[in-house]
Symmetry: D2
Subunit: 356 residues, 4 copies
């Protein structure tokens, strides 16, 4: 990985995670999922792409799904505090020695001038400030369904070396809210934020760069439960990969769904305010069976292993680098893995796994 400490330049002032663009194989099928089930609002659509937003969002989109040859992540976009931050970003990433491209206003529909980079972790990242404002549907309860989604919450990316990735994001003035470690200080995952929630980006240890998931927030748990009921009703319950449940990390109530191409979407609510500078960082033991599900429900193995391909700025799929540190699934559910519910208990396999 590029030495992310190689610059003394000022980083751009990031507000928050802002939108993602996913490449999908069949636009109609994806529309049925993102609009028909998740209920996202269509800002614009044509034969090539659909621009979507959640009910409390007033920027043009927080998700683009675009037709393409290979299902993949095309870009993760962060909003910066002002247009001036684009120059700051160009200077910062140029000094970091990664690929940097300026994009004219409108290069992405609804988005003004932007800067795209391939970040040191290998992800295609955009920074922008200007964006088209559209109607905010906060109180448009006439179109809110039973599973109404409020806003984009965070990105989760897979990267081999979590401490290096944390260092990179700390360079961007993100802070760690929680992480998962073992007694040897191996870091399995970390949650980092700019806006005062548990995260704008989570760093999940594994072969990367790959995209683990994109997460949207709801107001209440009932909205998440309805999405499950809805998928059952249309006989697509196999799109429910994991959950619903309560995370240990973040305390959020969660659900992981798979879109028609297998891109993972989380629906998430009830994390907590992290905006004070002394917000306590919580470190979870990787063997704590409640770290990823407070109720001890086992993590489905696919959740550890599967993730989306990432494109470079030319739209070419990136190869992945193997994780060399211990893997969370191996140390918890594999033959040599273990987890515990109470720290002084006999270690045991995970709840369901131990019965199979």
């Amino acid at each position: 990985m590029t030495d992310i400490t190689a610059t003394a330049a000022t980083p751009p002032d990031v507000l928050r995670c802002a939108y993602a663009e996913l490449i999908v194989s069949d636009l109609a099928e994806s529309r049925a999922f993102y609009v028909g089930v998740l209920g996202l609002v269509v800002t614009y659509e044509d034969d090539e792409a659909i621009y979507l937003r959640a009910f409390e969002e007033y920027l043009h989109h927080s998700l683009i799904i675009r037709k393409g040859p290979v299902p993949a992540l095309a870009v993760l976009a962060y909003r910066v505090r002002s247009p001036r931050e684009l120059d700051v970003a160009v200077e910062y990433y140029t000094q970091l020695g990664v690929r940097v491209e300026r994009r004219a206003a409108g290069a992405t529909r609804g988005i003004g001038e932007a800067v795209r980079i391939e970040d040191p972790l290998g992800f295609p990242i955009e920074f922008f400030y200007d964006a088209e404002h559209v109607e905010r549907f906060t109180q448009r309860y006439d179109v809110h369904g039973a599973g109404a989604i409020s806003r984009l919450d965070h990105f989760n990316v897979v990267t081999p070396d979590v401490p290096a990735a944390v260092k990179y994001y700390e360079g961007l003035n993100f802070r760690v809210s929680e992480d998962i470690e073992d007694a040897e200080k191996t870091v399995y995952a970390a949650w980092m934020f700019r806006k005062p929630t548990v995260h704008d980006v989570a760093l999940t240890g594994g072969d990367g760069p790959r995209m683990h998931h994109i997460a949207f927030a709801t107001h209440e748990r009932s909205q998440i439960l309805h999405l499950c009921d809805h998928l059952g009703a249309i006989r697509q319950s196999d799109k429910i990969e994991r959950g619903p449940g309560r995370h240990g990390v973040s305390n959020a109530f969660y659900l992981y769904l798979l879109d028609p191409d297998g891109h993972r979407i989380e629906i998430y609510t009830h994390d907590y305010y992290t905006g004070d500078p002394d917000n306590p960082t919580i470190t979870w033991d990787v063997h704590d069976n409640q770290r990823r599900d407070w109720w001890g429900t086992p993590v489905v193995p696919s959740w550890y292993t599967n993730a989306s391909t990432v494109l470079d700025l030319d739209g070419v799929p990136r190869g992945v680098e193997q994780r060399t540190d211990a893997r969370e699934d191996a140390v918890t559910i594999g033959a040599d893995g273990f987890s515990y519910t109470r720290i002084d208990d006999e270690p045991a396999g995970f709840k369901l796994g131990s019965q199979l």
Copy 2:
């Protein structure tokens, strides 16, 4: 099994499932579970037993936990429409040729005169009408916790021959609301009711007689979710056996917990009205992956295999008779088992199991 058609006698008029008595090994530990976590109201307790009720119940108890040498089910009690029904019950079961005992008022604290039988399925069953009235805590919101339980909902028993058991309960004028079958008409389970809900008793095919679980109802799903959160907080998430989820059968939102002796307790809400005589019976295909969980979440194997020992009227543990029909776990999750999410799909193993 006793031929349950051997009598033309009138059956007793059963109102509903009314209480269960469970034998537990450590009263303090059980109290921590039933009172500390579930929040049931203690009507009376001493060194031998605790008499519990839920917030909307006005009879003395709907659950007794009693200290004893072997964790087991001591009795399942049905309330009948009037004291006169006790004589009817004596006559009915005498003609059926099973063991019948009259019990004086107070033989069970809070309960009036009663009749106990060993039913043709091998279960210790009580019929009673008279019972002590106590304060109904419906509006005692000052003591309702976040996981408030409203009332006992149903019993679930394991029995080898489900069609025979259905016939027996039809003799008592219970009706079937839903069942699970396969293409060869093997019946895996049936849900039967007197009060107009989906069931007062569910008949689960397996080695029996054993008690599968006792279920309590809440008003809303949030109360069920809180019980999970609470168990996580006290580091007893391993008491969560299965769920929370949405049942296919009954449509109820559910959670299965294990008490300190492994007795299974379900918390349940949102089933539907069944009180009209033409209430449609729903038959589910045993291979339908949404039958037991509408979201396709796999059933934990222990849920199929584990159940509580049943005592006879002398308090002696009963032996079990093997089920000879096909077993639901074998035909769905075993090596030769399969299930599907969409009926025209390629059969597949269950969601998590296929990943392990």
Copy 3:
């Protein structure tokens, strides 16, 4: 009133309240309310009428809205246990001396043979058993909105002499779950049931016969709250007459809406099981400020005074008889009225009223 004790005939065996027919002035506007906002399922519609049901109902309809010259209640229908009960009803009401008419199957779309009467309280009442079965949408979560309604719950009628009306319904084997009285035993209202909920019919003291409201049940409170949010979003919040709130009587969470003609519709959830013969009757003091709203929120005066006209079996609007007993609004919110939050408190006007 007809002496309702004038017969020793057997009454028909009523299962539950089953459907109502309302006359409305503009079918399109009513459709926007009942289908667009409440989300009821249209079983059938033409230029004259719309036949509606809730998501857990499998009979053809639980509500008919029909175009007509005068907004009114056309009929309240109870389902009986079998077709044979129709003959029983004819005999019973003939002996009572009220008007009785047999109706051929299909006289009302979706309903089989029926009997209509003008009951001793002056209401047009139908009894039926046979009805067309249609799809039960219990698990059609793909079409459940955020305000999903499960089933019809009860009727509420205005009648001058509540004790006489109670006596009449007791003749039909309805039982009282709760009532409102004063120290002089004046009865202001009573709640009576056949199915084991708090009521199938409520008897509200006032000038009658008039229809006070029709109530539908939801699973949870969030669905009721959404209806309010939805009405706000379409700028029809003035259709919210009272609530949402928690009833004292029944403990149910409630909301009263007005349809475009001013017919009152309640949405209701969380009452309790009343099916045991010794279900305790709860009597509330008319001066208890928490009887109609557990939170002490004042009852809107219109809720006491307004109610729908009732038609006779010829479709002619009925005149009303004045209530001669004390009126609940007069004794609680008028110049001489009072209510209390704590029984030993200084009496006071109601919460908001005392500030105006």
Copy 4:
């Protein structure tokens, strides 16, 4: 009012509203309300004061209730970004010409060095950074009640000249999220924030300085509804002043309670993210009947007129200055007031008021 534009000094960098101190007349009664009903966690208590926090807070307290001769607000405290900001605050307010006092660490239990001022609006305000950390009960679901409160959300203060107050807070780099105006640009209230929610402070037009309320946030609406149910159960429903309901402004679900001394406490959930610099400001028409309650429920008159006395830094009650601009209650519910549900409708009195 002091000319708040009289300084070019840099304002302190405020993070958020952080704690309030209320003077109460009876500590035991107040404890029954704040701990017994609201369920706040006691960090420390003695005969003089109780230090309270909500479940997701890790600073020593977010509310102090202290025994004193006159029920009043003693201080509103904002947290600043670092200890250095205290010097900034001293310089800023000294230049503004208001009273400024430094306070040693521990002058308030649990709080480090601080600066107190009498702000140009007449309120006693504290700035602090250092504070004692205590256990964060985010996941202590074993002690979360059914009405669990997560964190302090905002202050609401009454001040005669809202535009002047807005200008003052803009000087502190607060931004306006929403406000209420009329066609003549009279401003009736404004909502202003530093943390990215709808507000840290609301400015309500009226005679001031007085404290209108302190607000706490919950995760879901069910927790707010439970507080009402709880107050009903202990026969203190008269402590419910207004709500529950859905605000127009902020979109939050709300409830206003009165503590034993009449201090108003709001419980609040479901507002929205405001953290982007171009967050659209929403201006509501004062005559829009859905501005303060989206469901059109009338605002109780006391909510407009009553507010808590404010102490100066010596603990002496402040006199109030009269509002000279039009008053919201007068223009909406008084004899000459009006409001509308649809902008093109005939103006009408408010929903309940017009019936009385």
